[in-house]
Symmetry: C2
Subunit: 251 residues, 2 copies
Protein backbone atom coordinates (compact mmCIF):
# COMPACT_ATOMS: atom_id res chain seq x y z
CA UNK A 1 0.00 0.00 0.00
CA UNK A 2 2.48 2.59 -1.19
CA UNK A 3 1.64 6.23 -0.73
CA UNK A 4 -0.26 7.64 -3.67
CA UNK A 5 -2.29 10.71 -4.42
CA UNK A 6 -5.84 9.40 -4.70
CA UNK A 7 -7.09 12.83 -5.65
CA UNK A 8 -5.06 13.10 -8.87
CA UNK A 9 -7.05 12.47 -12.03
CA UNK A 10 -5.56 9.59 -13.93
CA UNK A 11 -6.69 8.52 -17.34
CA UNK A 12 -5.82 5.49 -19.41
CA UNK A 13 -5.33 6.26 -23.10
CA UNK A 14 -4.43 4.13 -26.09
CA UNK A 15 -2.13 6.71 -27.68
CA UNK A 16 1.66 6.75 -27.40
CA UNK A 17 3.01 9.06 -24.70
CA UNK A 18 6.25 11.04 -24.92
CA UNK A 19 7.39 14.55 -24.03
CA UNK A 20 5.41 17.01 -26.14
CA UNK A 21 3.13 14.37 -27.63
CA UNK A 22 -0.41 15.47 -28.35
CA UNK A 23 -3.17 13.15 -27.21
CA UNK A 24 -6.55 13.73 -28.76
CA UNK A 25 -9.52 12.28 -26.91
CA UNK A 26 -13.04 11.96 -28.25
CA UNK A 27 -16.26 10.32 -27.17
CA UNK A 28 -16.71 9.29 -23.57
CA UNK A 29 -13.22 10.32 -22.48
CA UNK A 30 -13.61 13.83 -23.89
CA UNK A 31 -17.02 14.03 -22.27
CA UNK A 32 -15.61 12.86 -18.95
CA UNK A 33 -12.89 15.52 -18.88
CA UNK A 34 -15.16 18.33 -20.09
CA UNK A 35 -18.48 17.62 -18.49
CA UNK A 36 -17.84 15.38 -15.49
CA UNK A 37 -14.53 16.73 -14.22
CA UNK A 38 -15.27 20.14 -15.78
CA UNK A 39 -11.63 20.68 -16.59
CA UNK A 40 -10.51 23.76 -18.48
CA UNK A 41 -7.59 24.49 -20.78
CA UNK A 42 -4.40 24.49 -18.75
CA UNK A 43 -5.63 21.92 -16.20
CA UNK A 44 -3.50 18.88 -15.49
CA UNK A 45 -4.25 15.19 -15.58
CA UNK A 46 -2.05 12.11 -15.44
CA UNK A 47 -2.07 9.90 -18.52
CA UNK A 48 -0.81 6.33 -18.88
CA UNK A 49 -1.18 3.71 -21.57
CA UNK A 50 0.33 0.58 -20.06
CA UNK A 51 3.53 1.01 -22.10
CA UNK A 52 5.13 4.45 -21.69
CA UNK A 53 4.79 5.23 -17.97
CA UNK A 54 2.70 7.94 -16.36
CA UNK A 55 2.80 11.47 -17.77
CA UNK A 56 1.75 14.74 -16.26
CA UNK A 57 -0.26 16.22 -19.08
CA UNK A 58 -2.08 19.46 -19.69
CA UNK A 59 -5.31 20.21 -21.50
CA UNK A 60 -4.24 22.29 -24.46
CA UNK A 61 -7.48 22.60 -26.40
CA UNK A 62 -11.14 21.87 -25.78
CA UNK A 63 -13.40 21.64 -28.77
CA UNK A 64 -16.99 20.58 -29.15
CA UNK A 65 -16.34 16.85 -29.42
CA UNK A 66 -12.71 16.51 -28.58
CA UNK A 67 -10.16 17.37 -25.97
CA UNK A 68 -6.46 17.68 -26.74
CA UNK A 69 -3.82 17.13 -24.12
CA UNK A 70 -0.09 17.49 -24.32
CA UNK A 71 2.16 15.15 -22.35
CA UNK A 72 4.66 17.26 -20.45
CA UNK A 73 6.60 15.29 -17.88
CA UNK A 74 7.18 11.63 -17.13
CA UNK A 75 6.26 11.28 -13.45
CA UNK A 76 6.59 7.50 -13.17
CA UNK A 77 8.46 5.30 -15.62
CA UNK A 78 6.74 2.16 -16.84
CA UNK A 79 7.31 -0.70 -14.42
CA UNK A 80 7.82 -4.25 -15.51
CA UNK A 81 4.50 -5.97 -15.24
CA UNK A 82 4.45 -8.89 -12.84
CA UNK A 83 3.62 -12.20 -14.42
CA UNK A 84 0.67 -13.63 -12.55
CA UNK A 85 -2.33 -15.07 -14.31
CA UNK A 86 -5.64 -14.99 -12.54
CA UNK A 87 -7.93 -17.77 -13.77
CA UNK A 88 -11.48 -17.68 -12.49
CA UNK A 89 -15.01 -18.90 -12.94
CA UNK A 90 -16.95 -15.77 -13.87
CA UNK A 91 -19.56 -14.49 -11.46
CA UNK A 92 -22.68 -12.58 -12.24
CA UNK A 93 -22.97 -8.80 -12.59
CA UNK A 94 -21.70 -6.67 -9.72
CA UNK A 95 -19.64 -9.46 -8.18
CA UNK A 96 -17.77 -9.96 -11.44
CA UNK A 97 -17.11 -6.22 -11.66
CA UNK A 98 -15.78 -6.36 -8.16
CA UNK A 99 -13.65 -9.43 -8.76
CA UNK A 100 -12.02 -7.88 -11.82
CA UNK A 101 -11.28 -4.68 -9.92
CA UNK A 102 -9.76 -6.62 -7.02
CA UNK A 103 -7.61 -8.83 -9.25
CA UNK A 104 -6.14 -5.72 -10.87
CA UNK A 105 -5.42 -4.14 -7.49
CA UNK A 106 -3.75 -7.35 -6.35
CA UNK A 107 -1.39 -7.30 -9.32
CA UNK A 108 -2.77 -9.93 -11.68
CA UNK A 109 -1.19 -9.47 -15.11
CA UNK A 110 -3.72 -11.48 -17.06
CA UNK A 111 -7.37 -12.28 -16.35
CA UNK A 112 -8.69 -15.55 -17.71
CA UNK A 113 -12.38 -16.35 -17.31
CA UNK A 114 -13.03 -20.09 -17.50
CA UNK A 115 -16.30 -21.96 -17.52
CA UNK A 116 -16.42 -24.88 -15.11
CA UNK A 117 -19.21 -27.37 -14.46
CA UNK A 118 -20.64 -25.37 -11.59
CA UNK A 119 -20.09 -21.88 -13.01
CA UNK A 120 -23.31 -19.89 -12.69
CA UNK A 121 -22.64 -17.18 -15.25
CA UNK A 122 -23.17 -18.45 -18.77
CA UNK A 123 -21.79 -15.43 -20.62
CA UNK A 124 -19.32 -12.74 -19.73
CA UNK A 125 -19.04 -9.27 -21.13
CA UNK A 126 -15.42 -8.84 -22.14
CA UNK A 127 -15.78 -5.12 -22.77
CA UNK A 128 -17.22 -4.56 -19.34
CA UNK A 129 -14.37 -6.53 -17.78
CA UNK A 130 -11.89 -4.44 -19.71
CA UNK A 131 -13.56 -1.19 -18.59
CA UNK A 132 -13.48 -2.35 -14.97
CA UNK A 133 -9.82 -3.32 -15.25
CA UNK A 134 -8.95 0.10 -16.68
CA UNK A 135 -10.93 1.92 -14.02
CA UNK A 136 -9.20 -0.02 -11.26
CA UNK A 137 -5.81 0.78 -12.77
CA UNK A 138 -6.75 4.47 -13.08
CA UNK A 139 -7.96 4.71 -9.51
CA UNK A 140 -5.19 2.72 -7.88
CA UNK A 141 -2.17 4.05 -9.72
CA UNK A 142 -1.41 0.82 -11.53
CA UNK A 143 0.51 1.34 -14.76
CA UNK A 144 -0.06 -2.12 -16.22
CA UNK A 145 -3.58 -2.93 -17.30
CA UNK A 146 -3.94 -6.70 -17.36
CA UNK A 147 -4.86 -8.40 -20.57
CA UNK A 148 -8.17 -10.24 -20.59
CA UNK A 149 -8.40 -13.60 -22.28
CA UNK A 150 -11.40 -14.79 -24.25
CA UNK A 151 -13.66 -16.81 -21.95
CA UNK A 152 -13.13 -20.52 -22.54
CA UNK A 153 -14.06 -23.86 -21.01
CA UNK A 154 -11.68 -24.89 -18.24
CA UNK A 155 -10.80 -28.13 -20.04
CA UNK A 156 -9.71 -26.27 -23.14
CA UNK A 157 -7.54 -23.92 -21.11
CA UNK A 158 -5.94 -26.84 -19.28
CA UNK A 159 -5.31 -28.75 -22.52
CA UNK A 160 -3.28 -25.78 -23.76
CA UNK A 161 -1.63 -25.03 -20.41
CA UNK A 162 2.04 -23.98 -20.63
CA UNK A 163 3.92 -26.71 -18.74
CA UNK A 164 6.36 -24.32 -17.04
CA UNK A 165 3.58 -22.30 -15.37
CA UNK A 166 2.55 -23.50 -11.92
CA UNK A 167 -1.18 -23.56 -11.28
CA UNK A 168 -2.04 -22.57 -7.74
CA UNK A 169 -5.38 -24.23 -7.45
CA UNK A 170 -7.60 -22.94 -4.65
CA UNK A 171 -9.40 -26.06 -3.63
CA UNK A 172 -12.08 -26.19 -0.98
CA UNK A 173 -11.14 -29.84 -0.49
CA UNK A 174 -7.44 -29.16 0.04
CA UNK A 175 -7.72 -29.86 3.78
CA UNK A 176 -6.44 -27.76 6.62
CA UNK A 177 -2.91 -27.21 5.39
CA UNK A 178 -1.42 -23.81 6.12
CA UNK A 179 -1.54 -21.70 2.98
CA UNK A 180 1.72 -19.94 3.83
CA UNK A 181 3.59 -23.20 4.45
CA UNK A 182 2.09 -24.88 1.40
CA UNK A 183 3.33 -22.08 -0.86
CA UNK A 184 6.68 -21.67 0.87
CA UNK A 185 7.38 -25.39 0.60
CA UNK A 186 6.28 -25.62 -3.03
CA UNK A 187 8.29 -22.54 -4.05
CA UNK A 188 7.71 -22.94 -7.76
CA UNK A 189 10.56 -21.72 -9.95
CA UNK A 190 8.57 -20.58 -12.98
CA UNK A 191 5.66 -18.21 -13.50
CA UNK A 192 2.42 -18.62 -11.57
CA UNK A 193 -1.30 -18.71 -12.10
CA UNK A 194 -3.99 -18.64 -9.43
CA UNK A 195 -7.26 -20.46 -10.05
CA UNK A 196 -10.43 -19.67 -8.10
CA UNK A 197 -13.49 -21.70 -8.96
CA UNK A 198 -17.18 -20.99 -8.63
CA UNK A 199 -19.13 -21.13 -5.41
CA UNK A 200 -19.71 -24.81 -4.97
CA UNK A 201 -16.18 -25.57 -6.12
CA UNK A 202 -14.87 -28.02 -8.67
CA UNK A 203 -16.27 -31.42 -9.46
CA UNK A 204 -14.19 -34.57 -9.15
CA UNK A 205 -13.31 -34.82 -12.83
CA UNK A 206 -12.17 -31.21 -12.89
CA UNK A 207 -10.10 -31.74 -9.76
CA UNK A 208 -8.52 -34.85 -11.25
CA UNK A 209 -7.71 -33.00 -14.47
CA UNK A 210 -6.16 -30.10 -12.54
CA UNK A 211 -4.00 -32.44 -10.51
CA UNK A 212 -2.58 -33.91 -13.73
CA UNK A 213 -1.03 -30.58 -14.72
CA UNK A 214 2.77 -30.75 -14.79
CA UNK A 215 3.05 -28.24 -11.94
CA UNK A 216 0.15 -27.68 -9.59
CA UNK A 217 -0.21 -26.63 -5.95
CA UNK A 218 -3.46 -27.17 -4.06
CA UNK A 219 -4.13 -24.29 -1.75
CA UNK A 220 -6.49 -24.13 1.22
CA UNK A 221 -8.04 -20.73 1.85
CA UNK A 222 -8.63 -21.28 5.53
CA UNK A 223 -11.37 -22.82 7.59
CA UNK A 224 -14.30 -20.65 6.48
CA UNK A 225 -16.33 -20.68 3.30
CA UNK A 226 -15.40 -17.70 1.17
CA UNK A 227 -17.50 -16.20 -1.53
CA UNK A 228 -15.69 -16.38 -4.84
CA UNK A 229 -14.98 -12.65 -4.91
CA UNK A 230 -13.48 -12.82 -1.43
CA UNK A 231 -11.48 -15.88 -2.40
CA UNK A 232 -10.03 -13.85 -5.28
CA UNK A 233 -8.50 -11.27 -2.98
CA UNK A 234 -7.51 -13.80 -0.32
CA UNK A 235 -5.80 -16.12 -2.80
CA UNK A 236 -3.93 -13.35 -4.60
CA UNK A 237 -2.90 -11.86 -1.24
CA UNK A 238 -1.37 -15.02 0.10
CA UNK A 239 0.34 -15.79 -3.22
CA UNK A 240 1.75 -12.26 -3.55
CA UNK A 241 2.74 -12.25 0.14
CA UNK A 242 4.60 -15.57 0.03
CA UNK A 243 5.82 -15.88 -3.56
CA UNK A 244 5.09 -12.62 -5.31
CA UNK A 245 5.85 -8.96 -5.17
CA UNK A 246 5.03 -8.45 -1.49
CA UNK A 247 8.15 -10.38 -0.60
CA UNK A 248 10.71 -7.61 -0.37
CA UNK A 249 13.16 -8.33 2.45
CA UNK A 250 12.37 -6.88 5.88
CA UNK A 251 13.96 -3.44 6.14
CA UNK B 1 -12.45 -22.68 2.12
CA UNK B 2 -14.05 -25.72 3.72
CA UNK B 3 -16.70 -27.57 1.79
CA UNK B 4 -20.15 -26.20 2.50
CA UNK B 5 -23.59 -26.49 0.98
CA UNK B 6 -24.21 -23.05 -0.47
CA UNK B 7 -27.70 -24.05 -1.53
CA UNK B 8 -28.96 -24.71 2.01
CA UNK B 9 -31.14 -21.97 3.45
CA UNK B 10 -29.62 -20.63 6.62
CA UNK B 11 -31.29 -18.12 8.86
CA UNK B 12 -29.99 -16.23 11.83
CA UNK B 13 -32.50 -15.96 14.67
CA UNK B 14 -32.36 -14.36 18.10
CA UNK B 15 -34.22 -17.18 19.86
CA UNK B 16 -32.63 -19.99 21.85
CA UNK B 17 -32.17 -23.22 19.90
CA UNK B 18 -32.43 -26.70 21.33
CA UNK B 19 -33.98 -30.02 20.28
CA UNK B 20 -37.72 -29.55 19.99
CA UNK B 21 -37.59 -25.80 20.58
CA UNK B 22 -40.19 -23.76 18.74
CA UNK B 23 -38.95 -20.66 16.97
CA UNK B 24 -41.59 -18.15 16.01
CA UNK B 25 -40.65 -15.67 13.30
CA UNK B 26 -42.58 -12.58 12.38
CA UNK B 27 -42.05 -9.53 10.19
CA UNK B 28 -39.38 -9.64 7.51
CA UNK B 29 -38.10 -13.10 8.41
CA UNK B 30 -41.57 -14.63 8.20
CA UNK B 31 -42.12 -12.81 4.93
CA UNK B 32 -38.78 -14.06 3.58
CA UNK B 33 -39.59 -17.70 4.31
CA UNK B 34 -43.18 -17.51 3.09
CA UNK B 35 -43.05 -15.15 0.14
CA UNK B 36 -39.45 -15.10 -1.08
CA UNK B 37 -38.37 -18.68 -0.53
CA UNK B 38 -42.00 -19.87 -0.78
CA UNK B 39 -41.44 -22.57 1.77
CA UNK B 40 -44.29 -24.75 2.94
CA UNK B 41 -45.00 -26.61 6.16
CA UNK B 42 -42.57 -29.49 6.49
CA UNK B 43 -39.76 -27.76 4.59
CA UNK B 44 -36.33 -27.54 6.20
CA UNK B 45 -34.05 -24.63 6.95
CA UNK B 46 -30.93 -24.30 9.05
CA UNK B 47 -31.16 -21.96 12.02
CA UNK B 48 -28.34 -20.47 14.10
CA UNK B 49 -28.18 -17.76 16.71
CA UNK B 50 -24.47 -17.30 17.38
CA UNK B 51 -24.72 -19.26 20.65
CA UNK B 52 -26.30 -22.68 20.22
CA UNK B 53 -24.82 -24.04 17.00
CA UNK B 54 -26.63 -24.76 13.76
CA UNK B 55 -29.93 -26.65 13.81
CA UNK B 56 -31.79 -28.43 11.07
CA UNK B 57 -35.28 -27.09 11.58
CA UNK B 58 -38.64 -27.69 10.02
CA UNK B 59 -41.50 -25.32 9.31
CA UNK B 60 -44.28 -26.52 11.56
CA UNK B 61 -46.89 -23.82 11.03
CA UNK B 62 -47.44 -20.96 8.66
CA UNK B 63 -49.91 -18.29 9.67
CA UNK B 64 -50.77 -14.96 8.17
CA UNK B 65 -48.04 -12.97 9.89
CA UNK B 66 -45.88 -15.58 11.46
CA UNK B 67 -43.96 -18.72 10.70
CA UNK B 68 -43.20 -21.33 13.35
CA UNK B 69 -40.24 -23.65 13.06
CA UNK B 70 -39.15 -26.46 15.27
CA UNK B 71 -35.47 -27.16 15.80
CA UNK B 72 -34.89 -30.85 15.18
CA UNK B 73 -31.22 -31.74 14.95
CA UNK B 74 -27.97 -30.06 15.83
CA UNK B 75 -25.93 -30.27 12.62
CA UNK B 76 -22.95 -28.21 13.73
CA UNK B 77 -22.07 -27.41 17.32
CA UNK B 78 -21.23 -23.83 18.18
CA UNK B 79 -17.56 -23.14 17.53
CA UNK B 80 -15.45 -20.95 19.72
CA UNK B 81 -15.36 -17.57 18.08
CA UNK B 82 -11.93 -16.42 17.12
CA UNK B 83 -10.78 -13.24 18.84
CA UNK B 84 -9.83 -10.78 16.11
CA UNK B 85 -10.99 -7.21 16.14
CA UNK B 86 -11.32 -5.42 12.84
CA UNK B 87 -10.93 -1.67 13.29
CA UNK B 88 -11.65 0.43 10.23
CA UNK B 89 -12.42 3.87 8.90
CA UNK B 90 -15.95 3.55 7.54
CA UNK B 91 -16.49 3.89 3.82
CA UNK B 92 -19.54 5.12 2.03
CA UNK B 93 -22.54 3.04 1.01
CA UNK B 94 -21.91 -0.05 -1.07
CA UNK B 95 -18.21 -0.23 -0.22
CA UNK B 96 -19.01 -0.28 3.48
CA UNK B 97 -21.56 -3.05 2.91
CA UNK B 98 -18.91 -4.94 1.07
CA UNK B 99 -16.24 -4.35 3.70
CA UNK B 100 -18.48 -5.59 6.50
CA UNK B 101 -19.37 -8.70 4.50
CA UNK B 102 -15.72 -9.43 3.79
CA UNK B 103 -14.58 -8.89 7.38
CA UNK B 104 -17.17 -11.43 8.53
CA UNK B 105 -16.05 -13.95 5.90
CA UNK B 106 -12.45 -13.46 6.99
CA UNK B 107 -13.29 -14.29 10.59
CA UNK B 108 -13.31 -10.94 12.37
CA UNK B 109 -15.02 -11.34 15.74
CA UNK B 110 -15.70 -7.66 16.35
CA UNK B 111 -16.15 -4.77 13.92
CA UNK B 112 -15.12 -1.35 15.18
CA UNK B 113 -15.75 1.68 12.95
CA UNK B 114 -13.45 4.55 13.85
CA UNK B 115 -13.40 8.08 12.52
CA UNK B 116 -9.96 9.29 11.48
CA UNK B 117 -8.91 12.68 10.12
CA UNK B 118 -9.23 11.57 6.52
CA UNK B 119 -12.32 9.40 6.89
CA UNK B 120 -14.82 10.35 4.19
CA UNK B 121 -17.98 8.93 5.71
CA UNK B 122 -19.32 11.14 8.47
CA UNK B 123 -22.02 8.79 9.75
CA UNK B 124 -22.46 5.07 9.68
CA UNK B 125 -25.63 3.08 9.87
CA UNK B 126 -25.12 0.52 12.61
CA UNK B 127 -28.28 -1.39 11.78
CA UNK B 128 -27.25 -1.74 8.18
CA UNK B 129 -23.80 -2.99 9.21
CA UNK B 130 -25.46 -5.51 11.50
CA UNK B 131 -27.79 -6.69 8.71
CA UNK B 132 -24.83 -7.10 6.36
CA UNK B 133 -22.87 -9.03 8.98
CA UNK B 134 -25.80 -11.38 9.56
CA UNK B 135 -26.33 -11.90 5.85
CA UNK B 136 -22.66 -12.73 5.34
CA UNK B 137 -22.78 -15.21 8.21
CA UNK B 138 -25.97 -16.79 6.80
CA UNK B 139 -24.53 -17.13 3.33
CA UNK B 140 -21.08 -18.35 4.29
CA UNK B 141 -21.92 -20.79 7.05
CA UNK B 142 -20.36 -18.75 9.84
CA UNK B 143 -21.87 -19.50 13.23
CA UNK B 144 -20.48 -16.45 15.04
CA UNK B 145 -21.90 -13.10 14.04
CA UNK B 146 -19.37 -10.44 15.01
CA UNK B 147 -20.39 -7.75 17.42
CA UNK B 148 -20.38 -4.22 16.05
CA UNK B 149 -19.06 -1.43 18.22
CA UNK B 150 -20.52 2.04 18.31
CA UNK B 151 -18.62 4.25 15.87
CA UNK B 152 -16.10 6.39 17.73
CA UNK B 153 -13.21 8.73 17.04
CA UNK B 154 -9.91 6.85 16.61
CA UNK B 155 -8.31 8.80 19.48
CA UNK B 156 -11.00 7.78 21.90
CA UNK B 157 -10.67 4.13 20.91
CA UNK B 158 -6.90 4.28 21.33
CA UNK B 159 -7.15 6.00 24.73
CA UNK B 160 -9.22 3.06 25.96
CA UNK B 161 -7.17 0.41 24.15
CA UNK B 162 -6.59 -2.82 26.12
CA UNK B 163 -2.82 -3.00 26.59
CA UNK B 164 -2.57 -6.75 26.02
CA UNK B 165 -4.14 -6.55 22.54
CA UNK B 166 -1.68 -6.08 19.68
CA UNK B 167 -2.72 -3.57 17.06
CA UNK B 168 -1.70 -4.64 13.57
CA UNK B 169 -1.65 -1.29 11.91
CA UNK B 170 -1.81 -1.36 8.10
CA UNK B 171 0.31 1.62 7.23
CA UNK B 172 0.86 2.85 3.71
CA UNK B 173 4.15 4.32 4.97
CA UNK B 174 5.41 1.09 6.51
CA UNK B 175 7.98 0.63 3.74
CA UNK B 176 8.62 -2.46 1.70
CA UNK B 177 8.89 -4.97 4.53
CA UNK B 178 7.46 -8.41 3.80
CA UNK B 179 4.09 -8.72 5.49
CA UNK B 180 4.59 -12.42 6.20
CA UNK B 181 8.01 -11.88 7.77
CA UNK B 182 6.85 -8.85 9.74
CA UNK B 183 4.04 -10.83 11.32
CA UNK B 184 6.05 -14.00 11.82
CA UNK B 185 8.82 -12.05 13.55
CA UNK B 186 6.44 -10.03 15.75
CA UNK B 187 4.45 -13.13 16.75
CA UNK B 188 2.33 -11.36 19.36
CA UNK B 189 1.31 -13.52 22.31
CA UNK B 190 -2.03 -11.89 23.12
CA UNK B 191 -5.16 -11.17 21.11
CA UNK B 192 -5.02 -9.18 17.88
CA UNK B 193 -6.71 -6.31 16.15
CA UNK B 194 -6.27 -5.24 12.54
CA UNK B 195 -6.59 -1.55 11.66
CA UNK B 196 -7.27 -0.37 8.11
CA UNK B 197 -7.51 3.38 7.59
CA UNK B 198 -9.28 5.45 5.00
CA UNK B 199 -8.09 5.98 1.46
CA UNK B 200 -5.42 8.61 1.90
CA UNK B 201 -4.17 6.89 5.05
CA UNK B 202 -3.37 8.27 8.46
CA UNK B 203 -1.95 11.67 9.26
CA UNK B 204 1.29 12.07 11.17
CA UNK B 205 -0.32 12.70 14.55
CA UNK B 206 -2.49 9.62 14.17
CA UNK B 207 0.50 7.53 13.17
CA UNK B 208 2.50 8.82 16.15
CA UNK B 209 -0.38 8.02 18.49
CA UNK B 210 -0.74 4.52 17.07
CA UNK B 211 2.96 3.83 17.48
CA UNK B 212 2.71 4.72 21.19
CA UNK B 213 0.35 1.80 21.84
CA UNK B 214 1.91 -0.79 24.15
CA UNK B 215 1.88 -3.44 21.42
CA UNK B 216 1.72 -2.41 17.78
CA UNK B 217 2.94 -3.91 14.50
CA UNK B 218 3.16 -1.81 11.34
CA UNK B 219 2.17 -3.84 8.34
CA UNK B 220 2.86 -3.13 4.68
CA UNK B 221 0.19 -4.36 2.27
CA UNK B 222 2.49 -4.69 -0.70
CA UNK B 223 3.71 -2.36 -3.41
CA UNK B 224 0.37 -1.33 -4.91
CA UNK B 225 -2.26 1.07 -3.66
CA UNK B 226 -5.24 -0.83 -2.40
CA UNK B 227 -8.70 0.53 -2.01
CA UNK B 228 -9.79 0.34 1.61
CA UNK B 229 -12.23 -2.50 0.95
CA UNK B 230 -9.50 -4.51 -0.76
CA UNK B 231 -7.09 -3.71 2.06
CA UNK B 232 -9.64 -5.18 4.48
CA UNK B 233 -9.55 -8.59 2.83
CA UNK B 234 -5.80 -8.49 2.16
CA UNK B 235 -4.91 -7.51 5.73
CA UNK B 236 -7.21 -10.05 7.34
CA UNK B 237 -5.93 -12.73 4.94
CA UNK B 238 -2.29 -12.22 5.77
CA UNK B 239 -2.99 -11.97 9.51
CA UNK B 240 -5.15 -15.12 9.52
CA UNK B 241 -2.65 -16.92 7.29
CA UNK B 242 0.40 -16.12 9.44
CA UNK B 243 -0.99 -15.72 12.97
CA UNK B 244 -4.64 -16.73 12.91
CA UNK B 245 -6.86 -19.64 12.15
CA UNK B 246 -5.40 -20.47 8.74
CA UNK B 247 -2.27 -21.74 10.44
CA UNK B 248 -3.08 -25.39 10.91
CA UNK B 249 0.04 -27.51 10.37
CA UNK B 250 0.67 -28.86 6.88
CA UNK B 251 -0.98 -32.25 6.58
Amino acid sequence: MASYDFAAQRLYVEEALAAGADVVLEGSQANYLKNVLRLAEGDQVLLFNGRDGEWRSRLSAIAKRRVTLVAEELVRPQQNAGDLWYVFAPLKHARLDYMVEKAVEMGASRLMPVFTRRTQASRVNGERMRANAIEAAEQCGILNVPGIAEPAPLEKVLDAWPPERTMIFCDEDAGAASAVETLAQAKPAGPLAVLVGPEGGFDESERARLLRLPSVVRLSLGPRILRADTAAVAALTVVQAVLGDWTAPVT
